[in-house]
């Protein structure tokens, strides 16, 4: 019961913070919309997408990159979780969290769940905007994708939590953009199918296959079309376990890794 009250408290706090940051919602929506409306329109003629599962017909490029852009929304939100944890550490409010009587792993899980729910809200607002621009998926796909989106949101949030335990200062967050977000996004199937990447560089295609973000995108893509991608789902679950484990390890006071940062 105590754990659930704490979970609720953390959900409310993160929700209030999210609602208080209008710019965060606007940028979360604007960024993928620019890719969808400007980038995808420009590349529509240049990139033909053959019939590949889960699609059973030819699709426009906008339809192809929609799951990738959903992944982008969640990727940025996951990194926002990281940013928010580093901010909490610098402003001292993380001490309130870490000195509460609940197990640290549970507190991190609460932060993770809160972040995933926020990303879910962002994704559905983006899907609504995409729908308004004529980019849509099967109606039931919007519902079927929800659990998968929660899972991918958790996985990317866990990656953010782990990063936050390793980032020393808020200023270092720019490095996350360059060394985490961009490589994860571009080295994935978000913008092009893997077979298309393999045509020009088998090595890059191979690397993309080992990118958890690729599998998050593919899991979302298949779910939106009421299909399942077991291998990608397994990758997402496995990555969630690894990143969560690393985050708990990173926030373990006995390592002193976090502790030194808490007081700096």
């Amino acid at each position: 019961m105590i754990a659930l009250i704490a979970l609720w408290g953390i959900l409310v706090r993160e929700g209030l913070r999210f609602l208080g940051q209008r710019e965060r919602m606007i940028s979360a929506l604007l960024r993928p919309m620019l890719w969808l409306v400007v980038f995808a329109s420009g590349f529509r003629a240049a990139l033909g997408v053959a019939i590949t599962p889960p699609y059973d017909t030819y699709i426009t490029y906008e339809v192809y990159i929609l799951p990738g852009l959903i992944g982008m929304v969640q990727l940025f939100n996951g990194m926002q979780t990281s940013l928010s944890m580093v901010y909490d550490r610098e402003t001292g409010s993380m001490r309130v969290l870490l000195t509460s009587p609940l197990p640290r792993w549970w507190l991190l899980a609460c932060k993770l769940i809160a972040g995933a729910l926020v990303s879910l809200v962002q994704v559905y607002v983006f899907l609504l905007a995409a729908f308004a621009f004529g980019v849509e998926v099967p109606p039931l796909g919007y519902v079927a994708a929800a659990p998968v989106l929660l899972l991918t949101g958790l996985m990317l949030g866990a990656a953010g939590l782990f990063l936050s335990s390793a980032i020393r200062q808020l200023e270092n967050f720019a490095g996350v953009m360059n060394f985490v977000i961009f490589p994860a996004f571009f080295l994935s199937s978000a913008l092009y199918p893997l077979w298309k990447i393999a045509e020009s560089s088998p090595l890059l295609a191979r690397l993309a296959q080992f990118n958890p973000f690729t599998h998050a995108v593919e899991a979302i893509r298949f779910a939106l079309y009421l299909d399942a991608a077991p291998l990608s789902l397994a990758w997402v679950v496995g990555s969630l376990a690894v990143f969560s484990g690393l985050a708990v390890w990173g926030y373990d006071p006995s390592r002193g890794f976090l502790a030194r940062r808490v007081i700096e």
């Binding site: 019961m1 105590i2 754990a3 009250i5 704490a6 609720w8 408290g9 953390i10 409310v12 706090r13 209030l16 913070r17 208080g20 402003t91 001292g92 409010s93 001490r95 309130v96 969290l97 870490l98 000195t99 509460s100 009587p101 609940l102 197990p103 507190l107 006071p253 006995s254 390592r255 002193g256 502790a259 808490v262 007081i263």
Partner: protein
Amino acid sequence: MTAALELHDLGYRYRSGFALDGISLAAQAGRFTVLLGPNGAGKSTLVNLVTRLYSPGSGSVRIGGHALADRPGQALARLGVVFQQSTLDLDLTVGQNLRYAAALHGIGGRRAEAALAQAFTRFGLTDSRNRPARSLSGGNRRKLELARALLHQPAVLVCDEATVGLDLSSRRMLLTHLRQLCRDEGLAVLWATHLMDEVTPDDPVVLLQSGRIRAAAPASVLMARTGGADMEAAFQSLLAGERP
């Protein structure tokens, strides 16, 4: 009598070389125990060990009879903390800050509302309950931190330089209030400070210097032992290494 807070042979070493070594002390219920030491003595490190932000290299911490290492949940549930650096979420209102802290201690619903109402009244924050913490004065922010630390009715309150940045009247108000809580409600306070004017003759004092305890006794006893004209002279004498 079992102490509300007990540290036994506590040690911690930084990579830089500074170490807290062999710290043993006890804070009794209903007493205002002062952890006195100059800047850099190790007071904040000690607070970080007591609050489990650091894990000790040696020794043990017991809070309300529970070993922090073995039963951290039970131990931390009996501990309230005010850190030197503000730990408020400045974007949230006064009420939201308190509700968040209550939830982290498993206090929700009507219990939380009752605890909040008591905190607002006790610390004169009723009119500020819907104001963002950012808009509060330094003194009121400290009041809010104190209200938050006491929200779950801890047995022990640890304050690390809690009056830093406050004017004289705010400092006095805070200290008077805490001493009253000690007397009336049996709260054990461990008050880390470098300000000697915050010590009264009856206070048990633990004098910390360079990571080690130099002396531990009621302030009046320490004064008598050193023969200092006043408390400041007595402590300066102890810090300078004159053995009592």
